[in-house]
Amino acid sequence: MSTPQPATTLEITLTVNGERVARRVPVRQNLADFLRDTLGLTGTHVGCEHGVCGACTVRVDGAIVRACLMLAVQADGATVVTIEGAADDGAYGNVIADLRREFHQRNALQCGFCTPAMLLTAAELVVRHPQATRDEIRAHLSGNYCRCTGYQSIVDAVAAVCRASTNS
């Protein structure tokens, strides 16, 4: 009897930006590549593929994760939100819209490569800890590299949304 070969592909079913998605995926494929290459959700960016730069950040079951450090098969059954669907995602969605407006007003982005992930990361802070101090905002964003802005306008934008959120 021959030894069973390990599977090289698996069926997964998940919800992405509110839509049910079923695909057969290579077991070695990471979630970022699945979202980008298979689903065409290219707003998730790949900057380092080793979990440092944060450009591939997406939300999985309500928590922000590095999509380059998670296999697509691990997202089987999960609910995934990317930048393309983030503005439609309930309470988070409103925060994303507010953040976009403040980022835009303050030019808190230049090349934009880090921006989708920065918005998702920032939204988590605004929702969970809107009283965050400036230092806390800086600490929270430290898993997302931006090489263009110097961070200050990003911190300003997040602080503005935090303020508005605690005032309302």
Partner: protein, 789 residues
């Protein structure tokens, strides 16, 4: 400034949010890796694991048979379709380098040099096949220490060159020997800057699509310079330029790193030409560290002669830096040394001057231009010497600078070595900075805290930065890189304006600059101006973005194009109204009576008449509602900007950690088109300079192995470590253009490292330690304090 630009409602100078940022905020940007045309193939690169090694055998048989593999290209395969290149500038006397091919042939000269390209259906399959490549290496001795690269016993990397010297330059003025002989004080120091790299968040990416049916090659490229790439690709692959189209879509950061020729990218182009299919190559982060150009890595010995009362009598500079095994192509690896030898203490009355800069080949990653090119090194040396001089004389460092700045009435002033400083605002910038940061208040706080055992430091750094470069940078060196830029304006059928410009957008705000200048000059709402960038087929010819030139040069082209279109519109209206051109104006997108402001015609009506109702146009009159204007800065080698930065920080003398408390910048970039763009770009540039001061370095082993080639190990500044950066301005428009704008993108990087180094040494001074090598690590601070052996 034109009357159009001076209008009260002009968007020139307004802090307007960028129109093209909305796409990026929505995840609807389009970077090269987001493109996946039909029949796309993916490339992966076999790289040399050794700094220097001969390829004894390269057998691709097994890899070629792997699943999904379409083609494997070796060095010889690519050399058959691509001519080699040599990265020398003809106007740098004695500069030499060896011919380089996209993929190594017979011998690899740095760890990471591309050796073979595997093209497969997916990137994963291409990488699988890489593991099946059968290659036998014979390791050769590697040259890895710039200090000994020219010694007799060191092997010569390219024997045909006769030595490892790429070039040596001497700049001399006045009698340095007698200056030092007369000096009351002589300051001597050796400064070291680390080799570091740009780390654009979007790695280098290229997608080449050769259509054999019509012979057209389309290249989507994450680049700053589409026209340079078009010329290079056409030239080296022996194609007519008209068959090569280069498109730079959204570019995820560039910082000068994306203006060079990379072998892996050229090999991907070769693969598409040979296969007649689209081929994409994306450098992953690990290969970026060994594949991207590096910069800096200078050792500078410097001396300053001072009179008893503190005048600078002379400056002597000995600069040595190790480049890669080849001088970079097409821009060469000389520019850092040229800037260092020109610019040490150039903001001051520096007296007699003698500078030597030498670049040597070594078996390390390619080396060349990165944001602020050489200026951070020159600034570090200048400002480090100034602080040491102030200490020696017992003068406050601000006062010492004030005494030695070039007098405002001395400009324009030609420096030894060639560059002319048109007009700097050093005195004004210094006073503004001291006021902005409350310098005397901080000094008092520093003194008070020292008594409590808290060690804070204040560091100043004046900087100058070349911008708006003329043909002196490349064209005169025989390099086919445009120093002019162009802007084409077209009145649309409904009265909008499409502006096609030869600069590109890598996030700096080129789109907004063109939009605001054109809207301001033409008198139309800025939302009615659409900008087209980054495509050799749809934009006019020009140099792209590098050297702090986009706004200063292409902004001027846009200004002149706007004036021309406006004049043509008004002349046309005057003709059909049988009146005088001068009696009309354009305000808010409408042609109005110049005196009363009463509406005469909408721009839509103007366009309709010109395009659809030519029966209403006089038979002898043809309105031209598409215009192009070009501009090149030809007065000086460049329009120098200036400013000053200050850093305030605290050193933990037990751990050696540095906490940045605040940073200030006064920058003079002349006319500002949009302060939102300028200020945050200055901050980002400062952060890159701070990164160089405290974190960033490419660490090599003695064998030439990069030891920290991942983002886990190579430290990039994070939000939590960076201070708030307060930006202010002085404004000295350049008289070389009507717009008056100078560059703003690099100056922050030029000055930040020096400000931080000076602040650290200011903090350490009462403790008796000093540091002069970047990055300043906790370890180096503890060593300086003699708390580590």
């Amino acid at each position: 400034m034109s009357s159009g630009a001076a209008r009260a409602k002009s968007p020139i100078g307004a802090a307007l949010p960028r129109t093209n940022a909305l796409r990026l905020l929505s995840g609807r940007g389009q970077y090269v890796d987001d493109l996946n045309p039909p029949r796309l193939l993916h490339a992966a690169v076999l790289r040399s694991p050794y700094a220097h090694a001969r390829i004894r055998r390269l057998d691709v048989t097994a890899a070629a048979a792997a699943p999904g593999v379409a083609r494997i290209l070796t060095g010889r395969d690519v050399a058959a379709v691509c001519d080699p290149y040599v990265g020398v500038l003809q106007h740098v006397p004695g500069m030499q380098s060896a011919p380089q091919w996209p993929l190594a042939i017979e011998r690899a000269c740095w760890q990471g040099e591309p050796v073979a390209l595997v093209v497969a259906a997916t990137r994963a399959e291409a990488e699988d096949a890489l593991a099946l490549m059968d290659i036998d290496w014979e390791e050769l001795p590697a040259v890895t220490d710039a200090e000994t690269a020219l010694n007799d016993e060191t092997p010569v990397i390219h024997p045909q060159l006769g030595s490892n010297l790429c070039f040596e330059r001497v700049v001399a003025a006045g009698d340095v020997a007698s200056a030092f002989a007369q000096a009351a004080h002589v300051i001597t120091a050796e400064f070291n800057t680390s080799r570091h790299t740009a780390v654009t968040l979007e790695p280098r990416t290229i997608l080449a699509d050769f259509n054999a049916a019509d012979g057209q090659l389309t290249v989507w490229h994450s680049t700053q310079v589409p026209y340079m790439m078009q010329w290079i690709i056409a030239h080296h692959f022996r194609l007519p330029e008209t068959q090569v189209r280069v498109i730079a879509p959204d570019v995820g950061g560039s910082f000068g790193m994306k203006i060079h020729i990379y072998g892996d990218e050229m090999a991907a182009v070769a693969a598409s030409l040979l296969l007649g299919r689209p081929v994409k190559f994306v450098a992953d982060r690990l290969e970026s560290f060994v594949g991207d150009f590096h910069a800096r890595g200078h050792r500078v010995r410097a001396r300053m002669a001072l009179s008893k009362k503190g005048d600078i009598l002379g400056v002597e500079v000995d600069d040595l830096y190790g480049i890669g095994a080849y001088s970079g192509y097409p821009r060469g690896s000389a520019n850092e040394g040229l800037q260092v030898s020109n610019l040490v203490c150039a903001a001051y009355r520096r007296g007699a001057y003698h500078a030597v800069s030498r670049a040597v080949f070594q078996n390390k990653a390619m080396y060349g231009q990165y944001r602020a090119v050489g200026h951070p090194v020159a600034c570090l040396v200048s400002e480090g010497l100034m602080d040491l001089g102030a200490v020696q004389l017992g003068i406050d460092p601000a006062e010492f600078r004030r005494r030695n700045y070039i007098a405002p009435e001395s400009y324009p002033l030609q420096l030894a070595g060639g560059p002319v400083l048109e007009q700097l605002s050093q005195h004004e910038a210094l006073e503004k900075l001291l006021d902005l940061m409350n310098y005397s208040g901080l000094r008092a706080e520093q003194t008070r805290l020292r008594q409590q055992g808290v060690h804070r430091g204040i560091g100043l750094a004046s900087f100058i930065e070349n911008s708006n470069p003329s043909a002196a940078t490349y064209g005169q060196g025989g390099v086919s890189i445009a120093s002019q830029d162009s802007c084409t304006l077209k009145l649309t059928a409904t009265g909008g304006i499409v502006a096609a410009s030869s600069i590109t957008e890598c996030g700096q705000g080129g789109y907004a600059v063109i939009q605001q200048v054109v809207a301001g000059v033409c008198g139309v709402p800025f939302e009615r101006v659409k900008v087209v960038l980054g495509d050799t087929e749809t934009t006019p010819m020009g140099g792209g973005v590098w050297g702090s030139r986009g706004t200063g040069i292409c902004g001027e082209a846009a200004l002149q194009a706007g004036k021309a279109l406006r004049a043509n519109i008004l002349a046309f209206v005057a003709r059909i109204k049988e009146s005088e051109t001068s009696l009309f104006d354009i305000v808010d997108g409408n042609v109005v009576d110049a005196k009363s402001g009463t509406a005469v015609m909408t721009l839509e009506a103007v366009a309709r008449t010109a395009y659809f109702r030519t029966d209403q146009v006089p038979k002898d009159y043809q309105p031209e509602l598409t215009v192009t204007r070009s501009y090149a800065q030809k007065t000086y080698n460049g329009a120098y900007t200036n400013g000053i930065q200050a850093s305030y920080l605290e050193v933990d003398t037990d751990t050696g950690f540095v906490k940045l408390l605040a940073h200030w910048v006064i920058d003079d970039c002349g006319t500002i088109i949009n302060p939102l763009l300028v200020d945050e770009q200055i901050r980002g540039a400062c952060v890159q300079g701070i990164g160089a001061a405290l974190f960033e370095q490419c660490l090599y082993s003695a064998e030439g192995q990069l030891l920290n080639g991942s983002l886990m190990d190579y430290l990039v500044p994070m939000a939590g470590e960076m201070p708030d950066i307060v930006v202010g301005h002085t404004c000295t428009p350049t008289r070389t253009s009507e717009l008056g704008a100078k560059g703003a993108g690099e100056a922050g990087t030029a000055g930040a490292s020096a400000a931080v180094l000076n602040a650290i040494n200011d903090a350490l001074r009462p403790l008796g330690g000093a540091v002069f090598s970047l990055p300043v690590t906790p370890e180096s601070i503890l060593r300086a304090l003699q708390r580590l052996p």
